[in-house]
């Protein structure tokens, strides 16, 4: 092709084109190849604009061995007609039909908004997000597959979810102010609705943080005016059995978090004005008022043995109190942002904390130091939770504004 072009070109251009032609003739000799690859850009740069245009039109004009469209199509489609898809099955997670051995498209979409809360049972992890669906993940499988999704649980999204220690009950609170109870079907392993906390004692939008007792019989919740309500949720009527006031009636500070001790003796609550209250559930009276943090308290957690209360929030400090005398026994410092979530490990040896800058820290209570810091994201973490110990190593998970759940296997033994 290049030689056919030569007569039509003026002499200075012909020189460069003849080099171009040389390129084609020599490229079959192997030992020249390295130098040739260098020559290519040199040639193309030397091509003046005019030649470039001609070159392109010539390329277009020369006859080519073209296969017609219909021929191409008939070759392509030979023996490739659409086949029936019959490898379908039911997704164990959401119940929709999916292709066997493929991920369920419906479940893949998972959470499309922030995950605001996590709650663990011995076999599953429940996550609540800004969407209306609750997700249940199987924590016995190393790939943590989605086991069940509960659609339309909270139409405006869900901000808190909690489970009972025995793993049989769960409760979730939505942005619309509604609280729902979920029961585990022991045979199928599915979560079913166990009713809603309603009635004349529940005012709309009253419930914020929630906690379930060990057997799932009682639910504690905080309100915007600082009260702590306790409901008997095992009973069909789900009646309010106790109401703790913090401050004068109706004027308490917003209750941001609540926790129940494992033995059911204590209730602890954290408030926006920085107060932490510990209540004695037997007497129904306030036991301690701990006001040392000064800034909003976003997380409280009572240790498994019930001897310590950890509280943290916007001050960036985790304060540890003794439940026997209400004494302040220590601070854990190191977070550089607001702390949003706390969780004690099963033995009470370690405390887990998550903050708004995406960092999760593991603290050794005995030594009073941070033993591990992780961050998968710089977006806010809304929830951090230990998974109940199943194997040799302890595991925990975090979730938040990056819309995914991260699982960690902590090598704390060594």
């Amino acid at each position: 092709m290049a030689t056919a072009l030569l007569p039509r070109l003026s002499s200075p251009l012909a020189f460069s084109v003849s080099r171009w032609a040389n390129f084609y003739t020599t490229q079959y000799t192997h030992k020249f190849l390295p130098s040739l690859s260098i020559a290519i850009p040199g040639v193309t740069i030397n091509l003046p604009g005019l030649l470039g245009d001609i070159w392109e039109s010539v390329l277009r004009a020369v006859p080519k061995n073209k296969v017609s469209h219909s021929k191409k199509r008939s070759r392509q489609m030979a023996g490739k007609a659409l086949k029936d898809v019959n490898h379908l099955c039911k997704c164990p997670g959401c119940g929709e039909v999916k292709r066997t051995h493929r991920l369920c498209q419906n479940c893949l979409e998972a959470h499309i908004t922030d995950i605001f809360s996590l709650a663990a049972t011995p076999r599953t992890l429940i996550s609540a997000s800004g969407s209306s669906t609750l997700h249940v993940h199987d924590t016995t499988d190393p790939s943590f597959p989605l086991r069940q999704s509960i659609p339309n649980a909270h139409k405006l999204g869900c901000h808190h979810v909690c489970t009972s220690r025995n793993g049989l009950y769960a409760a979730s609170a939505g942005f619309g102010g509604e609280v729902k109870i979920w029961e585990l079907n022991k045979e199928t392993g599915d979560w079913n609705s166990g009713g809603e906390v309603t009635g004349p004692t529940v005012k709309p939008g009253e419930v914020w943080a929630i906690a379930l007792s060990e057997d799932g019989g009682y639910l504690a919740s905080t309100t915007s005016d600082g009260r702590i309500n306790v409901w008997d949720v095992a009973d069909q009527s789900k009646a309010k059995i106790r109401e703790y006031e913090t401050g004068s009636a109706g004027s308490g500070s917003f209750g941001m978090c609540v926790d129940l001790s494992r033995d059911g003796k204590f209730t602890a609550s954290g408030h926006q004005n920085g107060s932490v209250y510990v209540f004695n559930n037997d007497t129904g009276r306030i036991l301690y008022s701990l006001s040392g943090l000064a800034k909003p308290v976003r997380a409280v957690a009572i240790s498994p043995a019930g001897s310590r209360v950890a509280a943290a929030g916007d001050a960036g400090i985790i304060a540890i109190y003794d439940t026997k005398h209400g004494e302040h026994v220590g601070n854990l410092t190191g977070h550089s942002s607001w702390i949003t979530s706390l969780d004690w490990s099963d033995t009470g040896e370690y405390l887990l904390s998550g903050s708004m800058d995406g960092k999760v820290k593991v603290w050794s209570i005995e030594r009073g130091v941070c033993v591990a810091t992780h961050s998968e994201t710089d977006k806010a973490l809304w929830a951090v939770r230990w998974l109940p110990k199943t194997g040799r190593s302890e595991m925990f998970c975090t979730a938040g504004a990056n819309r995914s759940i991260s699982f960690y296997r902590e090598a704390t033994g060594s």
């Binding site: 605001f116 901000h159 917003f254 926006q272 909003p296 001050a315 960036g316 400090i317 601070n331 806010a380």
Partner: protein, 366 residues
């Protein structure tokens, strides 16, 4: 637009009748008067006496009374603190030559004033006590519904308002009387929202700066989602409306980061003899107007109810990406349990630095 400049002038006029003041008091004189009050307070402090200053408690009372600190009760102590803050702000404004609005004074410390009215009254009384007009303190009534820049508004009776040149801004006419808006060579419009105003300006991008609270987000919802009011009205072409702020991300960047050296440990939790406690205490003594502003405030019960109501309304437009974004912002607001007004962004009345950065970013992105 409830308080126009004309309105405030007439009130000042009444003030003149009650007690004649020299029409133009030079800034230097006012600064001197303020400083003499502050000096008296300092003298009290030096001599270990109770702090006190002369102040007229109400307009009708002719003889000036003394306000003490700590005073007889909490009310008097609060009053003293309020007056001191206003004096400080007026002094700063006079020295730097800036003009403050009453609303701005209120937002410097919402918790202290609790009501806008309290701040308004104190400012007026203070001007009276100093024997000057309020404007001489470089404090003006809140300016609402004004526009500034090369924008012309054509009214139905064929009169044209604008272009508005200068710092003060030109009051916007009633929405019904506007025929067209001529944007001229304007590249963009910034809407600073305290209240919902509707307008159509299809040619240029419109940036909206609104409070980070349920009301602010509701304004955004009305603008962006053409719901409620907009859907019932005929809107020829929706203007290109972009959300400048305040978003949760802005708050997160500035508020949640803890500067370990600057933030003192809460009192009860302070380890004894820690060198940082003294250092942090000393760093906080240098109070300037910037530092005494209220940073962020907690959500009230009303805010929460409103937020839930907006979330419910957003469900109708669930597939809209704007709706998803607003929904997320509202949910995060409820989770964080805080709100911030536009004033939160400012550095002693100056928003320009933040706006420069933010507008630059957004114009580059487009």
């Amino acid at each position: 637009m409830d308080e126009t400049t004309a309105g405030s002038r007439s009130r000042d006029g009444r003030q003149v009748i009650i007690r004649p003041v020299t029409a133009t008091t030079s800034a230097g004189t006012v600064v001197a008067r303020i400083e003499s009050i502050l000096k008296d307070v300092l003298d009290c402090l030096a001599e270990g006496r109770e702090l006190s200053m002369n102040f007229v408690l109400n307009r009708s009372g002719s003889s000036p009374q003394k306000v003490h600190f700590p005073g007889r009760n909490a009310l008097e102590a609060t009053k003293f603190a309020r007056i001191l803050l206003i004096l400080q702000l007026a002094h700063d404004a006079l020295v730097s030559g800036t003009v403050l609005t009453k609303r701005h004074i209120f937002y410097q410390h919402q918790g202290l004033f609790s009501k806008q009215r309290t701040a308004d009254e104190l400012v007026d009384n203070l001007a009276f006590a100093l024997n000057v007009q309020r404007d001489d303190l470089n404090i003006v009534a809140s300016s609402k519904g004004v526009f500034s820049g090369p924008l012309c508004i054509c009214l139905h009776e064929d009169t044209v308002i604008g272009p508005a040149i200068g710092d003060a801004g030109t009051p916007l006419p009633a929405t019904g009387s506007i025929k067209t808006i001529d944007c001229g060579s304007t590249k963009w419009i910034l809407v600073v929202e305290k209240d919902l105003v509707r307008f159509n300006c299809p040619q240029v991008p419109v940036f909206v700066l609104a409070d980070y609270d349920p009301d602010g987000l509701n304004i955004l919802r009305c603008y962006r989602l053409k719901s409620d009011i907009m859907s019932r009205e005929r809107s020829p072409t929706a203007p290109d409306i972009r959300w400048l702020g305040i978003r949760s991300q802005d708050l997160l960047e500035l508020e949640t980061r803890l500067d370990q050296s600057a933030t003192p440990l809460p009192i009860d939790l302070q380890p004894p003899n820690s060198p940082s406690s003294q250092q942090s205490a000393s760093s906080r003594t240098s109070i300037s107007a910037t530092e005494c502003r209220e940073p962020i405030s907690p959500l009230s019960v009303r805010d929460r109810k409103l937020a839930v109501g907006i979330l419910d309304k957003l469900r109708e437009a669930r597939d809209d990406p704007d709706a998803t974004e607003l929904q997320r912002e509202l949910q995060v607001m409820l989770m964080m349990s805080i709100k911030a007004e536009i004033q939160w962004l400012d550095e002693a009345g100056n928003l320009t630095e933040w706006l420069d950065v933010k507008l630059g970013q957004m114009l580059l992105e487009s």
